[in-house]
């Protein structure tokens, strides 16, 4: 019995080395993200996303789904959606609920069903740190 279980463990691990997600993206797009204000700080903010094709042509009819997570498990993610842009720019309100390291996942669905996913890493400051940043830049 123990042999079988250990063999199963090894087999699963070996098989998993070739694992590919069924959800992998299949569209050739570029997505850029700018949090406003920058650098981001705890509290209400806005996210400005720029969606273009590989040649740089703006795309205005994508549906964007945004999920903000911290780098550790256990925090309720911050979710947002926006479905129309101008000149390839999409804007949505967003709340940074905690200071620290964040990963924002942006998924864009095109009208023809194709999609792309990008992840952005950033650090959100505390209100005090943000105030110091503002002071040092004046």
């Amino acid at each position: 019995m123990t042999w079988l279980l250990l063999a199963a463990l090894l087999t699963l691990t070996a098989a998993g080395c070739a694992r590919a997600s069924q959800q992998d993206a299949d569209a050739a797009l570029r997505i850029g993200m700018t949090p406003i204000p920058y650098p981001p700080a705890v509290g209400q903010a806005r996210l400005v996303l720029h969606v273009t094709d590989l040649a740089g042509v703006p795309i205005d009819d994508a549906r964007l789904s945004i999920k903000g997570d911290m780098t550790h498990a256990g925090m309720t993610p911050v979710l947002a959606e926006v479905s129309s842009g101008t000149g390839g720019y999409y804007e949505t309100p967003f709340e940074w609920t905690m200071a620290g390291d964040w990963i924002v996942t942006v998924e864009a669905w095109l009208a023809d069903g194709r999609r792309v996913r990008e992840r952005f890493e950033l650090t959100v400051l505390t209100e005090d740190e943000a105030a110091c940043e503002d002071g040092s830049q004046e």
Binding site: W3, L12, G16, A73, G74, T76, P77, M98, G100, T126
Partner: protein, 471 residues
């Protein structure tokens, strides 16, 4: 006339091993194996997703189950039942196989038959947790599990007893301390049966079951320390004389003779308490300020060096220093004076309820904020493998099991209850050993200070930064 035996005098009480259904199942040959197999399957899934799944902690089964669910459930289990994780530990499943290969094996070295190695491993584990950001890395979390399997197997192979559980495993070490608060304990139904027993199968083993892996003699058990709740003693006993009995809250901690009076045992408790505080401290803004100040001030090249300094002081040097100071002052105020070791051993158990409450508040916080996230994570796992039965998109909003505004009050209640338990144990131990109030005062001040520190800590905003992969 033969000298009177000091075998434990069992008191009538609830015996879980006599409950209909569950009692028979637990005593059966496969009682432990079922739980171990379930956890082994969970471990296999954790390792698989940890290595091959999204390398993103909120979306990986490895990080979500280990750092949220395990930490939450283990505290609840210890508080409400006993050492349930060690009872169902999958890491010791290869134990029988290892023993078959190794034959008799050697005895664990006499010089290491104490908790010093366990303390070092526990402190090292918590340092690695901070330095390598284990909680944020599915890959590293998977490696932690594999390391446990490898270490358990290697030690079972090399030695005749179960040294991994008793002298090394940081999970077991942590759970042993926590289980000193648990409501259930192994004992015997009749001491006369034990006195007449020739084979002592509860410790030596029988053809049906291995004896106690940590070499506890059932009729003499006064403490849950070193008891993995494996129930091998119950299965091996040819007289069906072993019981799993309910006991009064804080009974073990307020019995002055329940624990041996050893330096290593006392320091283990102090490390348990201080790692609880430091583990929470590691997730608050002041730790980053301190880390930065040390790195700049000491011109450190490696950020790990600053962390080693911080957590080496908090987890080892500070408890060591405070233990010596508090026990020393208590001893100086007491009459007649006992040895420093005895003073330390006498009152150190009073730290356990408060230390446990700090861990409960911290682990409970993370469990409360993220327990439901297992559903979208598993859903995502299934989608990754082409299974769409649960829908096309996980509901990532599933996370917390209570409103965020409840968390701080919950934590403060835990700390206050823990302080109350510690206060009671301190008073009881003082009364039973005729220690003056003056001599107990240093311990009381310590408890107040630790409780205040815990409450201040949990009032700080949480902040996680400096994650390894973001450097």
């Amino acid at each position: 006339m033969a000298a009177r035996s000091d075998l434990y005098h069992p008191r009538p009480g609830i015996d879980v091993l006599r409950w209909p259904g569950i009692g028979r199942f637990l005593r059966s040959r496969y009682g432990r194996l079922v739980g171990q197999l379930l956890l082994l399957l969970a471990a296999a899934l954790i390792v698989y997703d940890g290595f091959t799944g999204p390398q993103f902690a909120p979306e990986n089964i490895a990080t979500v189950t280990v750092w949220l669910h395990y930490r939450g459930f283990v505290m609840l289990g210890l508080l409400l039942v006993g050492n349930l994780f060690c009872m169902n530990c999958p890491f010791t499943l290869p134990r029988t196989l290892a023993r078959k290969w190794s034959g008799a094996g050697r005895r664990w070295p006499r010089a290491l038959r104490n908790k010093w190695v366990a303390i070092a491993v526990l402190a090292m584990f918590f340092f690695l947790y901070e330095w390598l950001d284990l909680w944020a890395s599915p890959w590293l979390t998977a490696w932690v599990l594999l390391a446990y399997f490898a270490a358990a197997f290697a030690l079972e192979f090399a030695f005749a007893e179960s040294p991994f559980c008793k002298y090394v495993c940081p999970l077991g070490t942590f759970n042993f301390v926590g289980s000193t608060l648990s409501p259930l304990q192994i004992t015997v139904t009749s001491r006369d049966v034990c006195r007449a027993c020739v084979g002592k199968e509860c410790i030596n083993g029988s053809p049906q079951a291995l004896g106690c892996g940590t070499e506890l003699f059932a009729p003499q058990i006064k403490s849950n320390l070193d008891c993995t709740l494996c129930l091998d003693c119950a299965r091996a006993c040819p007289h069906d004389n072993v019981a799993l009995v309910a006991r009064a809250p804080l009974r073990e901690l307020s019995a002055p003779d329940a624990w041996p009076r050893r330096w290593d045992l006392a320091l283990l408790i102090w490390v348990f308490v201080f790692t609880g505080l430091s583990n929470a401290f590691g997730m608050t803004p002041p730790v980053y300020v301190l880390e930065e100040a040390l790195t700049r001030g000491l011109k450190l090249q490696n950020p790990g060096a600053a962390l080693l300094l911080i957590f080496g002081v908090l987890n080892v040097l500070l408890p060591l220093g405070l233990a010596t100071a508090v026990a020393g002052l208590s001893r100086a105020l007491d009459e007649p004076r006992d040895s420093l070791r005895n003073h330390l051993a006498r009152f150190t158990p009073a730290l356990v309820p408060l230390g446990f409450s700090v861990w409960l508040a911290h682990n409970g916080f993370h469990f409360a904020t993220g327990a439901l996230s297992i559903f979208p994570v598993v859903h995502n796992f299934l989608l990754d493998h082409g299974v769409t039965a649960l829908g096309a998109a996980p509901n990532w909003q599933l996370s917390a099991i209570m409103p965020f505004t409840w968390l701080l009050p919950m934590q403060i209640v835990f700390i206050l209850l823990g302080f109350g338990g510690s206060f009671y144990v301190l008073g009881e131990n003082g009364r039973q050993t005729n220690t003056s109030f003056k001599a107990q005062l240093p311990w009381l001040i310590l408890l107040i200070g630790l409780a205040a520190a815990a409450i201040a800590l949990f009032n700080l905003p949480m902040e996680m930064r400096g994650t390894s992969f973001m450097h």
